[in-house]
């Protein structure tokens, strides 16, 4: 079997195992009360990490490039309650423009 198909199969099985462990083992049973506050904060913590990595990380390096301007413009659009699709388009357009000027 080729390397590509090994990657497809192993990452597919591994990902489903990660996603399904909670739902299959704990499905339908409420979590203990003291964890309720914790799971509610997982969203903000993970989303903020995804924003930070997506804006500043290039592999294992932290860089400042056109994405900073794009995400900054998106933040302004969010502040003025722009719809999500517009926010995404603004981010992509500003980043692409910055890259075009940077050569």
């Amino acid at each position: 079997m080729s390397a590509v198909w090994i990657v497809v199969i192993v990452s597919g099985v591994g990902t489903l195992a990660l996603k399904a462990t909670g739902p299959v083992l704990l499905g339908g049973k409420p979590l203990p009360d003291r964890f309720a506050g914790v799971v509610g904060l997982l969203g903000p913590a993970l989303l903020a990490a995804l924003v930070a990595i997506g804006t500043f990380a290039d592999g294992q390096r932290l860089v400042l490039d056109g994405r900073v301007l794009g995400v900054g413009a998106a933040a302004v659009a969010i502040r003025f309650r722009a719809p999500v699709l517009l926010v995404v388009i603004i981010a992509a357009a500003v980043t692409a423009t910055a890259r075009a000027f940077a050569g």
Binding site: A3, V4, I6, V7, S11, G12, G14, T15, L16, L18, K19, A20, T21, G22, P23, V24, L26, G27, G28, P30, L31, R34, F35, A36, G37, V38, V39, G40, L41, L42, G43, P44, A45, L46, L47, A48, A49, L50, A52, I53, G54, F56, A57, R61, L62, G66, R67, G70, V71, A74, A75, I78, V84, L85, V87, V88, A91, V94, T95, A96
Partner: protein
């Protein structure tokens, strides 16, 4: 079964996911182009989008293969990037009805965006919204990948279009409404901080992720950032 999971249904989830599905379709196009260029062929990227269904992980695997990395390295980096789905799966688990197959389906359709759309606040999730949003994203991701591998030559290099910045912007738009809270201050280890708990968790999560990026393999910083939610741990009462 936990008692209530919100009033929204399948239809509300399907409507809410449309703007994100458009972005995911574009991201899928660029994945298809890059995966093909990385020598994955035309069929394997589409099969991977059906089965692995996780954007950043699939990009990582393709880039490892393109750089001439081993299959084990590529698969491991994809799995590590998806490690956050272990805690994410635990958060939705209490709200899933039905048997094992139904729960497996919901689990497979749980990705960052569907998880956020299905959140009802204060640690509750809506399984009908999760299913609808997840299906919309899944279809968009598969069709995007298919378009990318078929028409890659016409589309060219997608990073020129700034699509890589679309995702942090999308996650920021999803994050901001979650920062509101009834609590005005946070108590951590006896300290009282004058900001709501979600804002503190977000700042802490971003800081952890950035601090670890230069030292830890991709994916690990995001999972470690999840530990910021522990500031919400309540003592036994």
């Amino acid at each position: 079964m936990a008692e209530t999971s919100g009033d929204r249904g399948f239809r509300e989830g399907a409507v809410a996911v449309v703007p994100m599905a458009v972005a995911v379709f574009g991201f899928g196009l660029s994945y298809g182009v890059l995966a093909r260029a990385a020598g994955m062929g035309g069929v394997a990227p589409v099969v991977m989008s059906v089965t692995t269904f996780a954007g950043s992980a699939q990009f990582a695997a393709a880039s490892v293969l393109q750089a001439g990395g081993a299959a084990a390295t590529a698969a491991l980096s994809a799995i590590m990037l998806n490690a956050r789905y272990l805690p994410i799966g635990v958060t939705v688990a209490p709200w899933l009805e039905g048997g094992v197959w139904s729960r497996l389906l919901h689990a497979h359709l749980t990705v960052d965006e569907s998880w956020v759309i299905a959140a009802e606040g204060t640690g509750r999730w809506n399984p009908r919204v999760l299913l609808a949003a997840g299906m919309g994203l899944w279809i968009a991701w598969i069709l995007g990948t298919l378009g990318g591998v078929l028409f890659g030559n016409v589309i060219g290099d997608p990073t020129r279009l700034g699509l890589d910045a679309a995702f942090p912007a999308l996650f920021l738009a999803l994050l901001v409404p979650q920062l509101r809270s009834r609590e005005r201050a946070t108590e951590v280890a006896g300290l009282r901080i004058g900001a709501p708990p979600p804002a503190i968790a977000a700042l802490l999560g971003a800081a952890i992720a950035l601090a670890l990026t230069p030292f830890a393999p991709a994916g690990v910083p995001i999972v470690a950032a999840g530990a910021a939610c522990l500031i919400g741990l309540r003592g036994r009462r």
